[in-house]
């Protein structure tokens, strides 16, 4: 009898040991907190087609949740999304005409995707209204992201916030502590309050994500800081030296970066030395990130990420290392079906046309990374998302008339090696 009993015990025990938990029974409500990335902002706007491919929406589909509500916006989006007008003779990426309208404004409860484009850590914790901006559109006066999340009684929360605590400095091209860059002590305090509130007021399983290094996004890396010969695709060498562009502090040098909107100035000869046929007028500060600015942003990002790592450990909350993922994508690429995807602008596949936000494929990759982390931490077997369509189904149609066959411009820009004639809408 004793033996039978112990066999029985072993059986029960092994059921616990070897069978994954039922995620469908345990996760009925999933809420996403965050910023533009979680919101599914893509190609410089918030629009239904892309919102339906946001990683929170994709995660909800993998979880089998049918009623995952988002603040959907009709085409062409708010702000209207960017489209490639042409890739030749010059690369022209412009917003679609018109403006989208909210499609789900009357939902009588908070959205499940509460992420607000532009939100930083402070906003997620404290902002209810922003005078007719994105917060009002998504929060609808029903409380902060944090409050609305708690009221939904979620079983699972993805919390990915902090990107805008460093990204604002990149978009502004200036590091002003407390203005464009959130001070570490503030970030630490806001984030701790968010975690404390979520842990204290929900029984949800929480997953957080860290902050990518800004030098892994095409917005910062797409344009070189020196002149490139459009024909040979090689840098122009004069007297054995590269011809560096001119920034507000003089000639740029390795370690400095220019951001995508610099292309508008370069197209007018601004930032190009007179000797190389330019105007000799320096690029404005807001499109230049010099070494000091870059290292200040990198250092702050590192500080934030170290803190996120420690808060994840002390609270037993899994953290998705998006920073390492993007570093890998930059250095080696992410290989899917023998195809290598990178963080390169236009041809890398992971980033959308604005150079800051992920493409649908980027969201799909993030979805699987989140699912793997959730499965591993909480012992679920949530199925991974099938990426086949994200590689092969056409997602964009270039709005172009007819192309003439001369490709030097297209070639150099696709290869990310020159900026002349690349006009892109400032994605601020």
């Amino acid at each position: 009898m004793k033996r039978i009993f112990s066999i029985f015990l072993i059986l029960i025990f092994s059921t616990f040991l070897f069978s994954a938990k039922d995620y469908k029974a345990e996760i009925k409500k999933y809420v996403a907190l965050g910023d533009s990335i979680s919101a599914g902002y893509q190609d410089g706007g918030l629009v239904i087609d892309y919102q339906n491919e946001s990683f929170p929406k994709l995660i909800s589909l993998q979880l089998g949740i049918s009623d995952f509500q988002q603040p959907l916006i009709s085409q062409p989006g708010i702000p209207p999304i960017l489209v490639i007008k042409s890739l030749y003779p010059s690369i022209v990426i412009v917003p679609k005409p018109g403006m989208g309208v909210p499609l789900n404004l009357t939902l009588p409860r908070p959205y499940d995707n509460l992420a607000v484009p532009g939100a930083n850590t402070y906003n997620l914790l404290s902002t209810v209204t922003d005078g007719g901006g994105m917060h009002d559109l998504i929060l609808r006066g029903l409380g902060t992201q944090l409050q609305q999340c708690i009221s939904l009684k979620p079983d699972l929360i993805t919390l990915w916030i902090g990107n805008n605590d460093v990204l604002k400095a990149v978009l502004a091209g200036r590091v002003i502590d407390g203005v464009t860059l959130t001070p570490f002590s503030s970030f630490q305090s806001y984030y701790t309050q968010i975690i404390t509130a979520l842990k204290g007021n929900t029984s949800a399983k929480i997953v957080i994500a860290n902050i990518p290094d800004v030098t892994s996004i095409p917005y910062v890396t797409a344009l070189p800081i020196y002149l490139v010969d459009p024909l040979t695709r090689k840098p122009i060498i004069v007297g054995g030296n590269l011809v560096y562009l001119i920034g507000p502090k003089g000639q740029l040098s390795p370690g400095d970066y220019i951001t995508l909107p610099a292309s508008n100035y370069l197209a007018q000869g601004i930032g190009i030395p007179k000797s190389a046929g330019g105007t000799g007028i320096p690029l404005p500060d807001e499109v230049v990130l010099d070494k000091d600015e870059v290292s200040a942003i990198k250092a702050r990002t590192q500080q934030f990420n170290d803190f996120l790592k420690s808060i994840s450990t002390t609270n037993n909350i899994p953290i998705l290392d998006v920073n390492s993922l993007l570093q890998k994508a930059t250095k080696e690429g992410i290989v899917i079906g023998g195809v290598k995807f990178t963080t390169a602008f236009l041809t890398g596949g992971i980033f959308s046309l604005d150079g800051v936000h992920p493409s649908s494929l980027g969201h799909a990759i993030l979805t699987n990374e989140f699912i793997k982390l959730i499965n591993q931490t909480y012992d679920y077997e949530i199925p991974l998302l099938n990426l086949y369509d994200f590689l092969h189904k056409e997602r964009k149609k270039t709005q172009s008339e007819s192309f003439t066959l001369d490709f030097s411009e297209l070639q150099k820009v696709i290869l990310g090696e020159s900026a002349k004639d690349l006009r892109i809408k400032d994605t601020k």
Binding site: V339, L391, K396
Partner: protein, 429 residues
Amino acid sequence: MRKFLLSLSIWILVSALAMGAGFQLFEAGSKATGFAGAFTAQASDPSSIFYNPAGIAFLDGYQFYLGATFITPKSSFEGENPYPGVGVKEEQEPMLFYPPGIYFVMPIGEKLRVGLGIFSPFGLATKWKNKDTFTGRFVSQYADLKHIAINPAVAYRVTDNLAVGVTFDYRISSVALERNVPLFDPFTFTVKDIAHLKLSSKFKNSGFGFSVGALWKVKENYNIGLSYRHKVEIDYDGEAEFTQISTGNPVLDQLVKLSIPFGKTPGKATIVYPGMASLGFSTTALKNWTFEVDLNWTQWSTYNKLPIEFTEHPELNPSEESMKKYYEDVFSVRAGAERKFSEKFALRFGYVFDKSPSLPESVSPMLPDANRHGATIGFSYDFGKFYIDVANMFLFFEKRSTEGKNTEGYNGTYKTFANLFGIHIGYKF
């Protein structure tokens, strides 16, 4: 007759090929295959030049042994998420390969024997159906590795019961690899096929090594055999041929044309073929029966990369990471038995467990390796001067999942079965 044999040998050599999945081949002779390859301790025919060169020291007179193994593999693939996804099914083209075994042994005096063996210790061919739409086409559509070993051998009977042997192991090989080249199309944000890449080398690249063996007839009815074959590196000097595939967008096509050197360009590849060692034990203690059990070790860790280099276009060289292969040294176990029914006729059967050297990371359309279980039956008939050995191996591959770890991001489960039919004819005079 001699002329016929010669042309037959040439025919076999030229078309020598072998099956995919762990590209070692152990079918050097049909008597040995009847024992599922457990032959190191018997080493009782000229194919010993492959299994254990010491064995030829005990052979009498002049002996020819030649034939081939006809291999028909059948492989299929079922996709898993994330890529290519649940529901995707792929199949390989049915193929037939026939690695040869051609041997000659002659005495020099009482104790010394010399010989020559030509066989195929490695080989690979995988060809996927519907190659233009095959979901793994950016990884591999077609792979073909032809590989022949030419081994002059010398063996010496140290005592009546102990012999040692050595071979000079000269290898000739060719390689062909085909796949499509993808590009992420910024116009549509989808992946497009922009080129077909064929890497190939002529059947002329070579390398060399050696093998050694010992055979000890412990007592009248008990043999112990030991053999070792050294690893061999072959550098392939060939060419890469890029053929453009239209994306349907003339602008993109023109850009592609400017970025890829269409036509032929020199290419190089290197494969280090693993060393192997075998320990066998055989007995004839039971009347009319022969039993043998072998343990084989294959140094697959030498295949830790497949470096490919475009000498004139280094910008096209694959990254270090993508050339890495995750292979480990492995053991296989072989056991076989023979029952003699008369002086002329014998039946054989055997079993082999061949462990896959490939970690899930490297289980790919090019080489979807798996653990293998082989069951063999065989017979021989002696006509006097001529004798014939026939064997058939049913080779069952365990289902192999990439466990989501494939380095090319191509995940799923492979199923393979292969039939190996071997026939060798011996001639003594």
